[in-house]
């Protein structure tokens, strides 16, 4: 079997998310170096705050400030930080219960090594220099010595005190952009690899179902009617018939094709399924069902650029009506 094709596939998305009143206050607070929690009706303070009580599902809005100092409730040493994690050097993941809170916040803890971290240790927030109203406005936590007043990093002790601020801010943020990128290696599998490789040789290869004898192009390895593997390769086309079409009037981003143009379903000769492609070489308003077309290959391309009329008489409707 020839080697399957592989290619990098990058999925990147900047989700724009709106915030409710509680999340807005919390994240705006971080921008102003204030940590806010939310009080439940039974008197617990949740940090990070949520809009609904996770036990009773009751709506909660009562914001209260908690201290930027707290206690580690559990931790895990991360000796090999991954892309986009808060610190590029080895650090501990930690759940930290801030002073005044009843629940814990997940973040990174900057410490020299795992021996310097333990459950119950005292830590405080290290603020990011640039703050935008996001959880990353907390750069990380750092060890904090309550008794010495100043810790061994020589941090600014005033930042360990509550500010007395409420949930009211000027210019509150109302949304965040949650960017993400994931890097995949895509492989189309056996059937589609064979199809794409044949295209590079300017051939259209479909696969025949052993049960119903239908020829699928492009082949995906299975007959959707019979639910069995297709394996017998069949060369189809290159000519085909337009079975249906639409006229595209809006230019797509990064696509260098003049509008309007026609996008069509094309039943290649010998295929039992229509594939789609652009129709060129004919004014858009003269494209019709039954039009006979053939692929046009751009120099060096691995797939047809578009299909153009062959000049043959139109196909009779009965010859392609099953494929519309």
């Amino acid at each position: 079997m020839p080697e399957v094709l592989k290619a990098p596939l990058v999925v990147e998305f900047p989700f724009t998310r709106s915030l409710g009143p509680v999340q807005s206050a919390f994240l705006t607070g971080l921008r102003e170096r204030v940590v806010l929690g939310v009080r439940t009706s039974d008197g617990r303070t949740l940090v990070p705050p949520v809009e609904y009580d996770p036990v009773t599902a009751e709506e909660i809005r009562d914001l209260v400030e908690v201290a930027p100092t707290g206690t580690v409730t559990t931790w895990a040493w991360n000796h090999a930080p991954r892309r986009d994690q808060p610190l590029g050097t080895p650090f501990a993941w930690a759940l930290v219960r801030l002073d005044g809170a009843d629940t814990a916040l997940l973040h990174a803890l900057d410490a020299p090594g795992p021996d310097a971290v333990h459950t119950g240790m005292r830590v405080r927030v290290r603020w990011a220099e640039e703050r935008t109203g996001a959880i990353t406005d907390i750069a990380c936590f750092e060890p904090y010595d309550d008794k010495g007043g100043r810790d061994d990093h020589g941090g600014d002790d005033s930042l360990a005190e509550p500010t007395g601020r409420t949930g009211e801010f000027e210019d509150p943020i109302t949304g965040i952009v949650a960017s993400a990128r994931l890097d995949y290696t895509y492989s189309p599998g056996r059937a589609q690899t064979a199809y794409i490789n044949a295209l590079a040789d300017r051939r259209n290869v479909g696969e025949r179902c052993p049960s119903c004898r239908k020829v699928y192009v492009p082949p995906r390895g299975a007959c959707p009617t019979c639910g069995v593997a297709t394996s017998e390769q069949v060369e189809v086309g290159p000519r085909g018939t337009v079975t249906t079409f639409c006229i595209v009037n809006i230019k797509a981003k990064n696509l260098d094709i003049e509008v309007p143009y026609v996008y069509a379903h094309i039943a290649l000769d010998g295929a039992d399924l229509a594939l789609h492609g652009r129709i060129g070489g004919i004014p858009y308003d003269q494209v019709r069902m039954g039009l006979r077309v053939e692929p046009v290959w751009a120099e060096g391309a691995r797939y047809p650029d578009h299909y153009r009329p062959t000049g043959e008489p139109d196909a009779d409707y009965d010859t392609y009506k099953e494929l519309v």
Binding site: V4, L9, V11, F15, R17, L19, Q23, L46, V47, P48, V50, P54, V55, T73, T74, W75, A76, W77, N78, H79, R82, R83, D84, Q85, W93, A94, L95, R97, T103, A104, L105, L106, P114, T119, A134, I135, T136, I176, A178, A180, L182, D183, Y184, T185, Y186, S187, G189, R190, A191, Q192, R220, G221, A222, C223, P224, T225, C226, G227, V228, A229
Partner: protein
């Protein structure tokens, strides 16, 4: 406590799974899935057209493509149109949907399948996208890191220690030597820390795989299977989204699901637990009140093969297959989803008295 018993007897009558491997790049999802679909049909003698309802579980984030499950539908003979549904979750939850569909009487048989190819993407990072998008996902805490927080909480609570976790790993992979589908078998070194306190041996292998089961109701089940695995109850429960709200050393959602599924009414002899990390078995044993008289994960469990989105359905399939073979009379199957056992499903299966 009285529990409402299901209005119809429904059983798992067939189960199949792929060999789970680190990569299956030569196969598309449907190419990987089709052999197990054919196998469960062959076990029962059913044709695709005989199936009353089809339900699948998978995740677009593993494939990196939107609506990826629609392509897999080619493998079930979806044309002409069939009665079909999909959950963006482990196939165990697809089985739950199929079970309720059969309970309504709208269908007598159901095909449930699920699959996951973890090999194309960075699984530890991919799974961060299921976390709270406001407060947690922007920090990219990977799946091992979150499990490690839970493991440390258990160690601090005195519920386990690193040698005990290593023993869970060793027992699982020794048991997996009897499972030809498993990805990690036999003597596997505990290895270095991935995220301390978890070592490579405490973590599941990353791999690709698929599974399928067939459910049938009443007499239909007896026609299709010599010893059906009757589903006496299924329930699933969820814990608070925020990790810092939960007691990570316990799993009240598992306990509640088990209670609602009837697991505590009589002892079980077998438990297939979906515990991808060694430390999670400690939590689940406690929540499910399993003592040493119960055979836990004779298949090797998720530590031997953890195809994401299929591993939970495989737990139900393995438990059912033991009943089919007469190796169990009453078995518990558990599936989980989300970080640190956030969501949990429990099914109780029984064979006819012998």
């Amino acid at each position: 406590m009285t529990r409402h018993l299901p209005v119809r007897d429904i059983a798992v009558v067939a189960f199949a799974q792929t060999d789970h491997r680190r990569t299956s790049e030569e196969l598309s999802e449907v190419e990987m899935l089709m052999p197990v679909l054919h196998e469960v049909l062959a076990q029962t003698g059913l044709k695709t057209a005989d199936i009353g309802f089809t339900c699948s579980g998978s995740s677009d984030y593993l494939a990196g493509r939107a609506f990826s499950f629609t392509l897999a539908l080619d493998g079930v003979g979806a044309w002409p149109p069939i009665s079909e549904s999909h959950v963006e979750m482990d196939g165990a939850w697809a089985l739950y949907e199929a079970w309720t569909k059969l309970l309504t009487g709208d269908a007598d048989t159901a095909l449930v399948y699920s699959y996951g190819k973890s090999s194309p993407g960075p699984l530890r990072d991919v799974l961060t996208r299921q976390l709270d998008p406001y407060y947690v996902a922007p920090l990219w805490p990977d799946s091992v890191a979150l499990a490690a927080l839970q493991a440390q909480a258990l160690i601090d609570a005195g519920a386990t220690d690193e040698p005990a976790l290593a023993a869970v790993a060793a027992r699982s992979r020794t048991d997996a030597t009897a499972n030809s589908h498993a990805q990690l078998r036999g003597s596997v070194p505990q290895g270095e820390y991935v995220v301390r306190p978890l070592r490579t041996g405490d973590c599941p292998p990353i791999g690709d795989g698929a599974a399928a089961v067939i459910l049938a109701a009443g007499e239909r089940a007896r026609e299709l299977c010599a010893r059906p695995a009757w589903i006496r109850g299924v329930d699933h429960r969820i814990e608070a989204h925020g990790l810092g709200v939960r007691d990570l050393t316990d799993s009240p959602s598992t306990r509640l699901a088990a209670e609602k599924a009837g697991a505590f009414e009589r002892p079980v002899d077998t438990a297939e637990l979906h515990a991808p990390f060694t430390s999670q078995e400690v939590v689940l044993r406690k929540a499910l009140k399993l003592d040493d008289s119960v055979r836990v994960n004779p298949s090797g469990g998720a530590l031997a093969a953890n195809p994401v989105m299929a591993a939970g359905l495989i737990r139900i399939g393995e438990a059912a297959a033991r009943i089919h073979r007469g190796e169990s009379d009453r078995a518990l199957a558990h599936a989980t989803s989300g970080p640190c056992l956030q969501q949990n499903l429990v099914a109780v299966l029984e064979g006819d008295p012998r």
